[in-house]
C-alpha cells in the first residue's frame, strides 16, 4: 500500500514539473477575420514550440481595448501579448510604459533568424506608425489605409471616369449624377453615427480641405472657417446625394449598403475592398473600381493609416516566448501559410512589401496596388496641410482624444440627423474641446 502511495505521489510530482516546464502565453485579440485566422493557425506554432502553450482571449474591438487598458493600467497581469493599434502606441501606452520595446529582442536574435524575418520587408509607414522615438513597440498583423471605391459598371453606363486621385468636388459631381433614390441607388455612403471611433472618414475629409483640429499652441480650430467649410461640405454631400438614415451608419452598415449594390461611391477602409470581393457576402464582386482617397487642396491627412499590431506587455514574465510568437505571426512564413490554407485572397493585407510583389496575390486582389500606394503615402506624422502639434490621421494621438472626440461625434451625428445646426454643433464642440485641453494643461493662459 505504502509503495503504491509513494509511486503515486512521485508520479504526481513528475507530472507537475512537466506541466511547469510549459510556459503559458495569454493573448488578447480583436475578433476580426485576420485575427481569427491567426487563432486557427496557432496549433502550427505550438507544434513547433512544444514548450509554449497559447491561451486566447478574443473579443470585439471596443470591449477588448477596455479590457486591456483596465488590466494593464492596474497591473492585472492577465495578458502577455495584446492587440495594439497605432493610436494606442502613439497615444499613451508607450508613454505609460505599458509595452516592451522590441529592438533589444531583435538585437538578440540570431543572424539567420533576423534575415528570415526581414524587418525591412514590413511597410515603412506601418513600422513608423508602431514606433515611438525610433523604438518599435508592435509588429503589424494587418494594416490599412483609406481609398475610394466606386461602381465601375455604373460609371461606365453614365459615361463618367474616375481620376486616379479625385477631388472631393469631383466626388460630389459623380455622386449626385448617379444618385437615384427612386430606384434604391444612392450616390455615396458616408458615416454619421455618434460613435467617436468611427470618425476617421470625416477627419480625413477635414484634413484634405486644409483644416485642422488644433493650431500650434493646442487651441482648438473647430470654429475656424476652413473647418466649417469641410464640415458643411460633408453634411451637404450626405444630405443631397448620400444614403438616408446616415446618423446610424457606421462601417458595417456602409459595407452592407455597398455590398448589396445600393451605393455608387464609398470612401472608406482599404480592408473593406477584400470583403467586397468575396462572393459569399457581396453582390458587387468584380464591379468595384479603385482610386486614391479624394483630396481638396491637401494630400496630407487625406487618407488614414492604421495597423493592427501585436505588442508585448511590459510586465509580462515571458518576454522571449511572447517575442517568438509575435515574430512568427508576422513572418513571411506565416503569410505564406495563410495563403496556402485559406486562399491567396485572404493574405494579410498591408504588412509586407513581399505580399505586393507576389503575382498570385496581385491576380486575385485588384485593389492591392491601390492599398499599397495609399499606405505608403499616408503620413501619420504630418496629418494636416499646416504644421500641427499632433500626429495621427484617424485620431489625434493624445490620451485626451476620447474626452472631446466623443462629444464631437455626438454633435456631428445630430447635424446629420438634422436635429442641430452646423454652427451650434461646431460651437459646442469648440467649447468642450477648449475645456478639455485647458483641464489637461495643454493650453496655458
Amino acid at each position: 500500500m505504502k509503495k503504491i502511495l509513494l509511486g503515486l505521489s512521485l508520479g504526481l510530482v513528475l507530472a507537475s514539473t512537466a506541466a511547469f516546464a510549459k510556459t503559458t502565453i495569454t493573448l488578447a485579440f480583436v475578433n476580426n477575420p485576420d485575427m481569427v485566422i491567426l487563432k486557427q493557425l496557432a496549433p502550427e506554432f505550438m507544434a513547433k514550440h512544444p514548450d509554449i502553450d497559447l491561451q486566447f482571449q478574443v473579443l470585439p474591438e471596443n470591449v477588448l481595448l477596455n479590457s486591456i487598458t483596465q488590466d494593464v493600467a492596474v497591473g492585472g497581469g492577465r495578458y502577455d501579448i495584446v492587440n495594439t493599434g497605432t493610436y494606442e502606441v502613439q497615444g499613451s501606452w508607450v508613454k505609460n510604459h505599458w509595452l516592451s520595446p522590441l529592438n533589444p529582442l531583435f538585437d538578440a536574435m540570431s543572424e539567420a533568424d533576423r534575415k528570415a524575418y526581414d524587418l525591412d520587408d514590413i511597410l515603412k509607414t506601418e513600422r513608423e506608425a508602431l514606433s515611438v522615438d525610433g523604438k518599435l513597440y508592435a509588429l503589424p498583423v494587418y494594416g490599412e489605409s483609406s481609398f475610394t471605391m466606386y461602381r465601375k459598371d455604373l460609371f461606365e453606363k453614365a459615361g463618367l471616369t474616375m481620376p486616379e486621385q479625385p477631388t472631393w468636388e469631383q466626388i460630389r459631381q459623380f455622386a449626385c449624377k448617379l444618385n437615384d433614390p427612386a430606384h434604391g441607388l444612392y450616390g455615396i455612403s458616408m458615416k454619421g453615427v455618434s460613435d467617436y471611433s468611427q470618425l476617421a472618414p470625416f477627419i480625413t475629409l477635414m484634413h484634405s480641405f486644409g483644416a485642422k483640429w488644433f493650431d500650434q499652441d493646442w487651441h482648438p480650430q473647430i470654429t475656424s472657417p476652413d473647418f466649417k467649410k469641410a464640415f458643411t461640405f460633408y453634411v451637404s454631400l450626405l444630405k443631397d446625394c448620400g444614403e438616408p438614415g446616415a446618423s446610424s451608419v457606421g462601417f458595417n452598415e456602409g459595407l452592407t449598403l455597398v455590398s448589396q449594390g445600393k451605393v455608387a461611391i464609398w470612401v472608406d477602409a482599404t480592408a473593406g475592398a477584400s470583403i467586397l470581393q468575396d462572393p459569399s457576402t457581396s453582390k458587387v464582386v468584380d464591379k468595384i473600381g479603385y482610386a486614391l482617397a479624394p483630396t481638396q487642396g491637401s494630400t496630407n491627412g487625406s487618407a488614414w493609416l492604421w495597423a493592427s499590431g501585436l505588442g508585448i506587455v511590459a510586465s509580462s514574465k515571458h518576454q522571449q516566448e511572447a517575442f517568438e510568437f509575435i515574430t512568427w505571426a508576422t513572418s513571411k512564413e506565416y503569410v505564406k501559410l495563410v495563403a496556402d490554407k485559406f486562399g491567396v485572397v485572404r493574405t494579410p493585407p498591408g504588412t509586407r512589401y513581399s505580399t505586393y510583389k507576389n503575382p498570385d496575390y496581385l491576380k486575385v486582389a485588384p485593389f492591392a496596388p491601390y492599398t499599397l500606394k495609399a499606405i505608403e503615402e499616408a503620413d501619420m506624422m504630418h496629418p494636416a496641410k499646416d504644421p500641427v502639434p499632433y500626429t495621427g490621421t484617424a485620431h489625434v494621438d493624445i490620451p485626451e482624444y476620447a474626452a472631446w472626440a466623443a462629444d464631437f461625434a455626438q454633435n456631428f451625428s445630430a447635424v446629420i440627423a438634422g436635429t442641430m445646426s452646423i454652427d451650434e454643433a461646431l460651437q459646442r464642440s469648440q467649447t468642450t474641446t477648449e475645456n478639455v485641453m485647458k483641464d489637461a494643461g495643454y493650453i496655458k493662459d
Binding site: N62, N66, T69, Q70, A73, V74, S92, N96, G184, G192, V193, S194, D195, Y196, E243, P244, G245, A246, S247, S248, L257, K262, P399, A402, A403, A406, A409, Q410, N411, S413, A414, V415, I416, A417, G418, T419, M420, A425
Partner: protein, 301 residues
C-alpha cells in the same frame, strides 16, 4: 456560546441558537458580495483616477466628482432621459399589457397559441431585439416600416435618426408589454367568478363591471408589475447601445450609458463611480417611494 445557550430557558430556543450562528458564513458571504463592491464604488467616487494617466495616481478629491457631475449639462440630460424612458415605458406597457390581458382572458379559442405568441418578445434576448428592430424594421432603406408607410404613398422615414427616443420607447414597450400582460392576466384569472355573477345580477353593465370590480381587483397586480418594471428599466442599456449610442447629441443618453461612457471611453474611474453612486441613490430613493406608496395596496391582500 455555551453561556448563551445555558441562559436560555426553554429547549426549543436551545436548538435555535446554533442554527443562528451557522448562518454567519452565508450572511458574511452575502454581505461581502453585495456590499463590498458598493463600498469600493463609494471610495472611488471621492477620488480622481484616470487609467490613462498612471503617473497621476489615485488622488482624494472629496466631493469634486459629484460637484462637476451636478453642473454637467450632459449628466442633467441623462437624468431627465432616464426619467422619461422609465416613466413612459412603464405607463405604455401597463396600458397595452392590460388590453392584451383582457383580450386573452376573454378568449376561448386558440388561447394557448395567442399566449405563446404574445409572450415571445419577452423571451428574446434583450440585446437581440433592438438589433432586429434597427436592421429589419426601422432601417430607412430595407426596413418593413418604410415599406408599410410607402403603401400609403408617404415619404420614407428615418425614425432612429429623426426621433431616436421614440424608436427606443417603441422597442422597449414591445419588449416589456408581455411581462405586464403576464402579471395582469394572473390577476384577472384570480377574480372569483361569483363576484362577477353577483354584479351582473345587480344589473351592472360591462363597463361598470370593469370600472368597479375588475380594476380595483387588479390594483395590487399593477403595483407589483410597475415596481418591478421600474427597477428593471431604470438601468436600460441594450437598446441605447445598439440603436443610437446615446446620440444624436446625447438625446438618448441615460444614466447607465453615461457611466459606461465615462468608464470605458474616457477611463475616468472616479467620475464614473460618482455617477454610479448617484444612479444607485436615485434607484433606491425611487424604489422606497414606490414601496411606501404601494404598500397599503399590497398588504390589503
Amino acid at each position: 456560546m455555551t453561556a448563551v445557550a445555558d441562559s436560555m430557558p426553554s429547549g426549543t430556543k436551545r436548538r435555535a441558537v446554533p442554527a443562528r450562528w451557522m448562518t454567519w458564513p452565508a450572511v458574511t458571504y452575502l454581505v461581502l458580495m453585495t456590499q463590498a463592491p458598493f463600498v469600493v464604488t463609494l471610495y472611488l467616487s471621492m477620488h480622481s483616477w484616470n487609467l490613462l494617466y498612471p503617473m497621476r495616481g489615485v488622488r482624494f478629491v472629496g466631493l469634486a466628482n459629484f460637484r462637476s457631475l451636478v453642473t454637467d449639462g450632459i449628466f442633467q440630460l441623462a437624468i431627465l432621459n432616464t426619467a422619461t424612458f422609465t416613466l413612459i415605458s412603464v405607463a405604455a406597457t401597463s396600458l397595452f399589457g392590460l388590453v392584451l390581458a383582457l383580450v386573452l382572458d376573454k378568449m376561448t379559442l386558440g388561447r394557448g397559441l395567442a399566449y405563446t405568441l404574445i409572450l415571445a418578445p419577452f423571451l428574446v434576448m434583450k440585446t437581440v431585439t433592438p438589433i432586429i428592430w434597427k436592421n429589419m424594421i426601422f432601417h430607412p432603406i430595407y426596413g418593413l416600416l418604410n415599406w408599410f408607410i410607402g403603401l400609403f404613398g408617404l415619404a420614407p422615414l428615418d425614425l432612429i435618426g429623426q426621433h431616436p427616443a421614440t424608436a427606443i420607447l417603441v422597442v422597449v414597450t414591445w419588449q416589456w408589454m408581455p411581462f405586464m400582460m403576464l402579471v395582469l392576466l394572473a390577476g384577472l384569472q384570480s377574480l372569483p367568478q361569483s363576484i362577477k355573477e353577483a354584479a351582473a345580477l345587480d344589473g351592472a353593465n360591462a363597463f361598470a363591471l370593469f370600472r368597479h370590480i375588475t380594476l380595483p381587483h387588479l390594483k395590487p397586480f399593477f403595483a407589483v408589475g410597475m415596481l418591478l418594471e421600474t427597477i428593471l428599466l431604470l438601468p436600460m442599456f441594450g437598446p441605447i447601445y445598439v440603436m443610437t449610442y446615446g446620440g444624436p447629441a446625447y438625446t438618448t443618453q441615460n444614466l447607465t450609458f453615461d457611466v459606461f461612457q465615462l468608464l470605458t471611453q474616457q477611463y475616468e474611474v472616479g467620475k464614473a463611480a460618482a455617477a454610479g453612486v448617484v444612479t444607485a441613490a436615485i434607484t433606491i430613493a425611487l424604489t422606497m417611494l414606490l414601496l411606501r406608496y404601494l404598500r397599503p395596496t399590497l398588504e390589503r391582500r
